[in-house]
């Protein structure tokens, strides 16, 4: 594993039943980077994140986190190692309160001070969550749930944060705020892998990017290059808008 690399995926294959949906993904993330993964619906972005987190079984290939192979490590151990995910579809614990959800995010976090600090910071970032502290997460509006999912992942105090379409369903003002925050926490040392439909914003934020097409990496490179790439422009940036 290369110098400064925190996460590395080699020739990753994943199947759902009989159907293979990832056909040999190669990808790496350096410490302190923001890497974005783009791609059409069904390209395998979420599957890749879930493979890293250990939620789906890897059929072949390897995943390394800090030089340690993790493709066979169970999901809960991966979190303990320092990889947290805010998953697609939010998956908040609907019958628990907002506060309880956030506490669960800190399940593996044994640093009490850090928990209190992070919690305060999350409530500052998303004041609505503070207002809704004792409301059941299931009754939150779509966007509020999205905030909760992001906040919950941050509570783990991870080394790498995996975000699956964090801007989905958020008001523009919040999207801006979140992207700004991501920048800040990244600068504070957190490595981020960002799956996004909002390609332009994601590329503007990220250091590097990968473009997936039907379970393969079609393009990769520094964000600036991808932003300029005519293929990317046509397919993901909505032409000339």
């Amino acid at each position: 594993m290369g110098e400064g690399m925190i996460l590395k995926i080699e020739n990753l294959h994943v199947k759902y039943g009989q159907v293979e949906v990832l056909h040999g993904i190669n990808l790496h993330v350096n410490k302190g980077e923001i890497v974005t993964i783009l791609g059409a619906n069904g390209a395998g972005k979420s599957t890749t994140l879930n493979a890293i987190s250990g939620l789906v079984k890897v059929s072949s290939g390897a995943i390394y986190f800090e030089d340690q192979p993790i493709s066979k490590v169970p999901a809960h151990r991966v979190v303990e190692l320092g990889v947290a995910q805010a998953p697609e579809g939010r998956r908040v614990f609907g019958t628990l309160t907002v506060q309880e959800n956030l506490n669960l995010g800190a399940f593996t976090n044994r640093d009490g001070d850090n928990i209190i600090q992070t919690l305060g910071w999350i409530y500052e970032l998303f004041p609505v969550l503070l207002e809704r502290k004792n409301q059941l997460a299931g009754t939150l509006s779509g966007g509020e749930q999205q905030m909760l999912a992001i906040g919950r992942a941050l509570m783990a105090n991870p080394k790498v944060l995996l975000l699956d379409e964090p801007s989905l369903g958020l008001a523009p003002i919040l999207v801006k705020a979140i992207f700004k925050t991501l920048k800040e926490i990244n600068e504070a040392g957190l490595t981020i892998v960002l799956v996004e439909q909002n390609a332009r914003a994601a590329l503007k934020l990220a250091n590097r990017g990968y473009v997936f097409e039907v379970g393969k990496v079609a393009l990769e490179g520094p964000s600036a290059d991808l932003l300029e790439d005519p293929n990317v422009q046509n397919a993901y940036l909505g032409g000339n808008h």
């Binding site: 987190s53 250990g54 939620l55 169970p74 999901a75 809960h76 151990r77 979190v79 303990e80 947290a84 995910q85 998953p87 998956r91 908040v92 614990f93 609907g94 019958t95 628990l96 309880e100 506490n103 669960l104 995010g105 399940f107 593996t108 059941l136 997460a137 299931g138 009754t139 939150l140 509006s141 919950r152 992942a153 783990a156």
Partner: protein, 301 residues
């Protein structure tokens, strides 16, 4: 009036046992959303194991009654808990990702299997616990004769419920159990070892069922291989009545069911008492569709 209070204590005594079995039922249900129809048979297993251990080890002889019974209860809880965990491993885990009712059918199969295993091992006849292991003291509370053992059973149920409730609500592991109950995938993403959580639940739930079986054996004296079916159904009813998946609910449901049965028998008809209990259940559910302390529902559209 005296008869009324007497019937009330009768009902509470029966209800205490329903509650104890319902606790285990509800715990398992809470996490897997599985109606574990084999729970009643694990209860039977507890009663039989208790009898075997009691007669073969002579614990109360060696250790004195109180200590002997405590050790016996711990052993039964442990063994039945292990049986429960094995059952989960063999019959439920393979079905965890399939339709909920598939696991229910597997549980029904497990129930038949366990019941007949006990029958094949022990034979079909009734077994009887040695008499007078428990003190047969009868207390007089406000002039009502109440056997001491009933008070002990009720106290034990209440203590176990309280302990379990605190465990689920206040401890780290309890929180993990609640999270796993809602969304196993998301729970894994929180760093929760879901398999372990389920295993613990299947140690505790059936363990409680087993110890309830032991209590029934010790108190009532008579056990047979089909007894779990009736008790299992009652406990399930109790758990639903209180709001399934909810620990205080199981307690409330169990006690209430016992009291309804006793009062129904006393003031309406003995022969109809189960029908009366079900009628009350239905009425309660019509008014409160998720039971008395039913779980909070959140279906955001």
């Amino acid at each position: 009036m005296e008869e009324f209070f007497q019937q009330l204590t009768n009902g509470l005594a029966v209800g205490g046992i329903y509650a104890l079995i319902a606790l285990g039922y509800t715990m398992v249900y809470g996490v897997l959303k599985l109606i574990n129809f084999a729970h009643g048979d694990l209860f039977t297993l507890g009663a039989y194991l208790g009898l075997t251990l009691l007669t073969s080890l002579g614990l109360s002889g060696h250790l004195g009654t109180v200590l002997g019974l405590i050790v016996l209860a711990i052993m039964v809880t442990g063994f039945v808990g292990i049986a429960g965990a094995l059952l989960e491993r063999a019959a439920y885990r393979p079905l965890r990702d399939s339709h909920r009712l598939s696991a229910v059918v597997s549980a029904l199969g497990a129930s038949i299997f366990l019941q007949n295993t006990i029958m094949l091992i022990y034979g079909a006849k009734n077994y009887v616990y040695p008499l007078d292991i428990l003190p047969r003291t009868t207390l007089h509370i406000f002039g009502l004769p109440v056997p001491l053992v009933r008070i002990l059973i009720l106290t034990a149920s209440l203590l176990l419920m309280a302990g379990l409730y605190l465990f689920i609500q206040k401890t780290r592991l309890g929180t993990a159990i609640r999270a796993a109950a809602i969304d196993q995938g998301a729970a894994k993403l929180m760093g929760i070892n879901v398999n372990q959580v389920i295993m613990i639940v299947f140690l505790v739930g059936p363990g409680l069922g087993g110890v309830a079986g032991l209590m029934v054996g010790l108190y009532y004296g008579q056990v047979n291989f089909t007894m779990g079916w009736v008790y299992g159904l009652k406990a399930f009813t109790a758990a639903i009545l209180g709001g399934i998946g909810n620990i205080p609910g199981a307690m409330v449901g169990g006690l209430l069911l016992g009291v309804i049965e006793a009062l129904g028998a006393a003031y309406i008809s003995i022969a109809w008492k189960d029908a009366i209990a079900f009628c009350v259940l239905i009425v309660i559910l019509i008014v409160r569709p998720t039971g008395i302390l039913g779980e909070r529902v959140a279906d955001k559209i």
